[in-house]
């Protein structure tokens, strides 16, 4: 009798043990998610004289078909996996595809291809017959690989716009963003490393009066990997990725040790670093200035934020309807500002519902982490989920002007192949961790 199987409401209609029935909860949610994806694509497929152009719906239908195929494969090979994760991802992907057809039609086919690759990656990372121990064993290899990738980008990277930050690596028409890959690899590293050192980290070795000092020598490899990564990302001016990495590291340290010392120390470090960056880097000063008052320069530096806020306000409660708003006036609307487009065209109602879908997805991920059988599995599931949830908070906070804007993608909804694929790898692993023999 294990606690994980007791609360098996998700394992079958009447709380049966996993593996003894069809995954009905997932099927039901998936049907709703498929409906959302298709309904979001309907306006783009409508003909002026009434009726539908079915070919315009074909990408969404292909996405849904692939999702149902993964549903069947999960029931066959991973019957104990969480049933909410796949439907949430499919819903977000369906909405993302419709918004992409809407705001960046020229890129929509490419985005569709990436979404299909993303679903395939999800299936592969869930089903590959390797042991999760492999991730733990090669923890230093992952970290060094990630750092080398970003280092190479610093030297030989390309930028999306001339003169912009050089964040992409690749040849010909195919490029990817190594900072996204670095984040995934560093979560692998930290899960393996912290699992190894968790006892030392949670037992304070030095006492200085009322202060308990952390065992600094054992933190050195972690600090070195994080320091190099953050320095590289700062040199690239990829501040969003840097912030994200830092928060993930602190979060995982707190999860493994249960000590707020790490969080407080990290916050102190963060304040120092923020002050220094604000002092030294012009981009940071601009970002903070337009966060505090975007209307001081509404047609220059503040243009993007002001346009985004006006789009969100324009959406009202139920929105203009997909295809009815003017979100294309926002720069980078298909990547960083996709949420503003969503809020304009589906209103507060749609934007709030999507937030709840994200909450459901991340709660499911953390639930997998809480119930995982070994500390390494717990750390891996928690770290991967933490990464995606913090990423969501950073970009939504930026778009809604709650924190200074730093460009990261919105998982599964924004444009960006690397983001889709790495997010899919992460969630595929969480699905896999959720299904374990007991």
């Amino acid at each position: 009798m294990t606690p994980a199987r007791v609360g098996g409401a998700l394992a079958g209609r009447s709380g049966r043990a996993a593996g003894s029935g069809w995954r009905w909860a997932e099927l039901g949610l998936l049907a709703l998610a498929a409906g959302v994806g298709i309904a979001a694509g309907l306006p783009g497929a409508a003909l002026p004289e009434g009726g539908l152009r079915l070919t315009a719906l074909a990408p969404a239908l292909a996405l849904v078909a692939a999702a149902f195929a993964i549903h069947v494969s999960l029931g066959w090979r991973r019957p104990g996996a969480d049933q909410r994760i796949l439907p949430c991802i499919v819903l977000l992907m369906g909405l993302g595809l419709a918004l992409s057809q809407r705001v960046a039609p020229a890129l929509a086919t490419r985005q569709w291809a990436w979404l299909m690759i993303g679903l395939a990656t999800l299936a592969v990372s869930t089903h590959l017959p390797y042991e999760l121990r492999v991730i733990q064993r090669y923890r230093y290899t992952w970290a060094i690989l990630g750092i080398v990738l970003v280092g190479v980008t610093l030297v030989a990277g390309r930028s999306a716009v001339p003169g912009g930050p050089r964040l992409w690596l690749g040849a010909g028409g195919l490029t990817f963003q190594p900072s996204e890959v670095l984040r995934l690899l560093l979560v692998f590293f930290m899960a393996g490393y912290l699992e190894d050192k968790r006892e030392i980290l949670s037992a304070a070795s030095l006492k200085l009066g009322p202060l308990r000092l952390m065992p600094l020598p054992y933190l050195a490899p972690l600090a070195a990997m994080m320091g190099v990564s953050l320095a590289l990302l700062t040199a690239q001016r990829d501040l969003g990725a840097g912030l994200l990495l830092f928060v993930i590291c602190l979060g995982m340290l707190y999860l493994v040790s249960g000590r707020s010392t790490y969080v407080l120390g990290g916050l102190a470090l963060f304040v120092c670093a923020a002050w220094l960056l604000h002092h030294e880097i012009a981009v940071v000063q601009t970002r903070v200035a337009i966060w505090l008052d975007p209307w001081s320069d509404p047609s220059g530096a503040g243009y993007q934020i002001v346009q985004g806020l006006m789009a969100i306000a324009e959406g009202g409660v139920i929105g203009a309807g997909i295809g009815q708003g003017l979100p294309t006036s926002i720069p980078a609307v298909h990547t960083d500002f996709i949420y503003a487009a969503l809020a304009e065209e589906t209103g507060l109602a749609g934007a709030a519902a999507v937030l709840m879908v994200y909450a459901t997805l991340f709660l499911a991920g953390f639930r997998v982490a809480v119930r995982a059988s070994t500390p390494f599995r717990q750390m891996l599931a928690a770290g991967l989920t933490l990464g995606l949830s913090v990423q969501t908070l950073i970009i939504l906070g930026g778009v809604l002007r709650l924190i200074p804007l730093t460009g990261v993608t919105l998982p599964f909804l924004s444009h960006g192949g690397t983001s889709i694929v790495t997010s899919a790898v992460a969630m595929g692993l969480v699905l896999r961790i959720g299904d374990e023999p007991r």
């Binding site: 039901g28 949610l29 306006p43 409508a46 929105g319 109602a349 059988s373």
Partner: protein, 153 residues
């Protein structure tokens, strides 16, 4: 409304309804899961009534002295999180010892731990079982625990 307008209005309504249908379904699932966990929880803690370990000194673990750790019929003690009683102390082995209630009495068995298990100061040999009385002090690595079993002498 023209056909295209009514079509677009229909698409908006359906989209929002499906979105909230999804959110509601996820909420119902979470609710049912919580209920199932609540129903299962009392069943685990029920037997045998009232037996518990009181922490006398917790070593480096986060268990302050005086903490009561309830015991099930068979309760393994160790540092790994899949033990019934988890003690995060470096001197405690992953699976250190097991407490069990049978033949009307409590027994403790060492599971081949590194730092050993002792009852009232007498160290157990590996794989040997010791009969316990209520109030006995069991030393698990560097952590001292007192067995309190109200139904026993």
């Amino acid at each position: 409304m023209s056909p295209i307008e009514s079509q677009l209005f229909f698409a908006r309504a359906v989209l929002l309804m499906l979105l909230y249908g999804f959110v509601a379904a996820a909420g119902i699932l979470a609710w049912r899961e919580l209920r199932a966990a609540q129903r299962a929880a009392p069943a685990r803690a029920a037997e045998p009534p009232g037996a518990r370990l009181i922490v006398l000194s917790g070593g480096a673990s986060e268990r302050p002295p005086g903490t009561a750790l309830p015991l099930g019929t068979v309760a393994s003690v160790g540092r790994d999180i899949d033990n019934e009683v988890v003690i995060q102390d470096p001197t405690v082995s992953g699976r250190h010892a097991v407490f069990s209630f049978r033949e009307g009495a409590w027994w403790v068995e060492d599971l081949g731990s590194t730092n050993g298990t002792a009852v009232n100061g007498r160290r157990l040999t590996e794989r040997a079982q010791a009969l316990l009385r209520s109030g006995d002090v069991v030393q698990v690595g560097g952590v001292s625990l007192r067995l309190v079993a109200p139904t026993l002498p």
